[in-house]
Symmetry: C2
Subunit: 482 residues, 2 copies
């Protein structure tokens, strides 16, 4: 495709996206298709001759869009938000247009140096310690996901602890599944992943149980290697007591990793900085995801380490064909040694475009909007005597369920599940679920850039209507059974 053809088709794609975003509410939030329908609508073999680019756009509309679940839809409340934004999309586009490979400083210096600048900027915006800046002892790096960032942190922790046949890692039942997966990848046995109890009310890790496990494992000859504390768990946004956990980690000489994938970016707001209490003093590594709630398209996780040496030692392998003068001076950062893969895209461009377009003030406003809307939604749930609410954390997630008075717990959970399925099947909105203490809860995650107050109120009305209808059906059915 020549530059002039690119110019022409590119502008059509920009129009397509602008139209898509402007009209996104015309689509059902969750795809209504059944497994196999998209595949069946596409040819079994690739074309022998090239086709016009317009064919791609036509099939995008005809075949793919019905199979898309619209994560940018203002009524998307499932999982966590996957914020996209104009400047992020365009930063990513510039990255694709330049087509550089940033594995080493030498392979495109700007790719590395802009990354050091934006991760330092973000550390400042979040009030993270000076020591984590790339011009100090620590440093930040953009990874594709918190899963990969946490795996990199685990490998650094294992390197520092020394790999043996009894390395242990400490998580809670509320820790993200990626930590269990990271341990599995790193070759830690299932028994080596130790589950610390949580407080049943707050769902936060119990430090006294952590301490007991560490004492017991150390006495038994294991090598405690990493503790993962979470700020804002995936299930309910619970917050582990990082300071107390950190004190215990220090006592036992264990690496403290903090998973703040979703909630960490909330610290752009001064009034939410308290969530990081203890982090500056005790964390060895920390991940947060601008690609969830900070207006930056996936993939953009930032991993910081307090000391970059063990990370680099754990991940560096240098073959001859990658040796170069700049690397050998030690004056430059080669981000290849901070991540699992070798190759890397110029992801800093999108975070840079976001930080400049919105500014610190714009990012704070975005977070505050989400927090306020979630608080408003939580208040509506709290005020309704047919519903119950999990203790609400000051982020964008609300966990709640209908009480279904008169039904047994199991039947009530089934009713909640049925209600969720009907709501999601309708295409009007999309929620997800979790379980706490065995009970099913709905998760309403607010924070998509297009979600406004009206959407949140409409969602609540829609939920109430579905609840009323199902309640009536259940009452009718139970009368018939009598």
């Amino acid at each position: 495709m020549s530059p002039e053809e690119f110019r022409e088709h590119g502008k059509r794609v920009i129009d397509w996206i602008a139209d898509y975003l402007a009209g996104i509410e015309s689509h059902p939030v969750r795809s209504q298709l059944k497994p196999g329908q998209v595949r069946a609508a596409l040819p079994p073999s690739p074309p022998e001759r090239g086709e016009p680019f317009d064919n791609v756009l036509a099939d995008l509309d005809r075949v793919l869009l019905p199979g898309v679940t619209h994560w940018q839809h203002p009524n998307f409340f499932a999982y966590f938000p996957a914020n996209a934004s104009g400047p992020a999309i365009l930063g990513d586009l510039l990255s694709a247009g330049l087509g550089v490979q940033g594995m080493l400083w030498a392979t495109s210096p700007a790719c590395t140096e802009l990354e050091t600048v934006v991760v330092d900027w973000l550390a400042e915006l979040l009030g993270l310690p000076e020591q984590w800046r790339t011009d100090a002892r620590g440093g930040g790096v953009i990874e594709d996901s918190a899963s990969s960032g946490s795996l990199a942190a685990l490998l650094a922790a294992l390197h520092r602890a020394g790999r043996g046949d009894r390395n242990t890692v400490y998580v809670s039942s509320q820790t993200h599944s990626s930590l269990e997966k990271a341990a599995k990848i790193a070759g830690i046995s299932a028994e080596g992943v130790r589950a610390v109890d949580v407080d049943p009310a707050t769902l936060a890790m119990r430090p006294e149980h952590l301490e007991a496990l560490l004492a017991q494992d150390s006495a038994d000859g294991a090598t405690p290697s990493m503790v993962c504390a979470t700020i804002g768990t995936t299930s309910t946004t619970a917050i582990d007591p990082v300071r107390r956990i950190g004190e215990i980690c220090r006592e036992f000489g264990v690496w403290l990793h903090v998973d703040a994938a979703y909630a960490g970016v909330a610290a752009v707001c001064d009034e939410l900085r308290w969530i990081n209490d203890g982090v500056a003093e005790y964390a060895d590594s920390y991940v947060t995801d601008p690609h969830k709630w900070l207006l930056t398209n996936f993939d953009c996780t930032v991993l910081w380490v307090a000391d970059r040496a063990p990370l680099i030692e754990a991940l560096s392998v240098v073959p001859e064909y990658l040796r170069n003068a700049a690397s050998e001076t030690g004056e430059v950062i080669d981000y290849r040694d901070w991540q699992i893969p070798l190759g890397r895209r110029f992801r800093a461009l999108k975070l840079w475009a976001v930080l400049r377009w919105y500014g610190a003030a714009g990012l704070r406003e975005h977070i505050r909007d989400g927090v306020a809307l979630a608080a408003e939604f939580a208040a509506m749930v709290r005020a309704d005597e047919e519903f119950t609410l999990l203790p609400h954390h000051p982020f964008g997630l609300v966990c709640f369920r209908p009480l279904w008075r008169g039904l047994s717990d199991d039947v009530a959970d089934e009713a909640t599940g049925a209600m969720l399925q009907r709501l999601n099947d309708s295409g009007d909105l999309y929620l997800s679920h979790t379980r706490v203490g065995g009970r099913m809860l709905l998760r309403m995650a607010i924070g998509a850039p297009l979600t406004g107050r009206d959407h949140v109120h409409a969602a609540w009305r829609r939920i109430l209507a579905e609840h009323r209808e199902l309640r009536a059906e259940l009452t009718a059915a139970s009368r018939m059974c009598r």
Copy 2:
């Protein structure tokens, strides 16, 4: 940024990229900046208030471009090509615009199903076995890089072999460093990574040595877990004897992984299908990178497995909040379980756009152009009595060096290094290097979409001129020393 603002700025970005590509030859190929110059030119802190998007583009021109090494420049001959193309950039742009998260089939069915379609299409184009199709027992998946794809394959292999404290993996001195890194990540000790000898002439793995190592390790109670054979090594594009290696793997019940990261895509051409001899019968997993030589922007590695069960078993962890009806039926693919991270972008769009825009015929033409230009360059080197050429494989890489008659090997290698540095410092072209049998060689990798015959001939003239000049300087210096 509103859809209308996006439309406006987006078209400016498209123009910026079209102009950049049209004028790319006005830039020095390799950045001329020193470490720290880009960083020093950017503010130490992020802006408090948002800025116009034009500021981003202005700083891109002023600050970043001088720090960019232009991988898409037609005179970029270093490492391997990192092919970008218009349809790939636009496919990636559509992915960013949709902003969907494809971790599960349920989170956006089209993201998963288009991926199954394009990896099956690519398998067909490359003549890979039917069994590897996603509607058979195997399946393909897009990973970010061959490093990550090979790590996933290793984890599947370890799962099948059973993890113990003496798992062993077999590579050669020519195997890509990512395999050593994967083993390190997976917790295999340095002694567990066994180096199989290569034939000094062809640099291909010696099957008889592999067989001897496997016999010895098995007898010693180790658990041989994976052999990695390479089709087109990174250093010199050497080809391991996959069929013979496969027979040995079968005999010992060991997983055969084939790393065809660079060269595998060449099999779109019938006349190059022989490179995959033995793959269909023996390979358990196979990676190749459309993002190197097949016109698809990084990141786009395809990993295929002959049997997907061990891969999924090795990588699947299912927390409650990701449970869903579609996954539980087993009717759908959840690509989360085929990769290291949880989250994933809609990368299939770019490969789909490439396959449709170019068609099979266009892809073959692109590969054939690269092969022919490399053969032409190799012939010029071969014909020059001042140079020597490594036995040339029919891909896009030529490895060669000046003979520097009369100089000792060490001094000759220093002279080759000095010549390389001068060429790269000039900004006229960019080559990289490797070492074979201790001797330094220049690597001229041809295959960027913009590289034409004129560029290759000009590069050879430029190399000859630099060689003549350095030769003269060395002669003058040696006269002075006499």
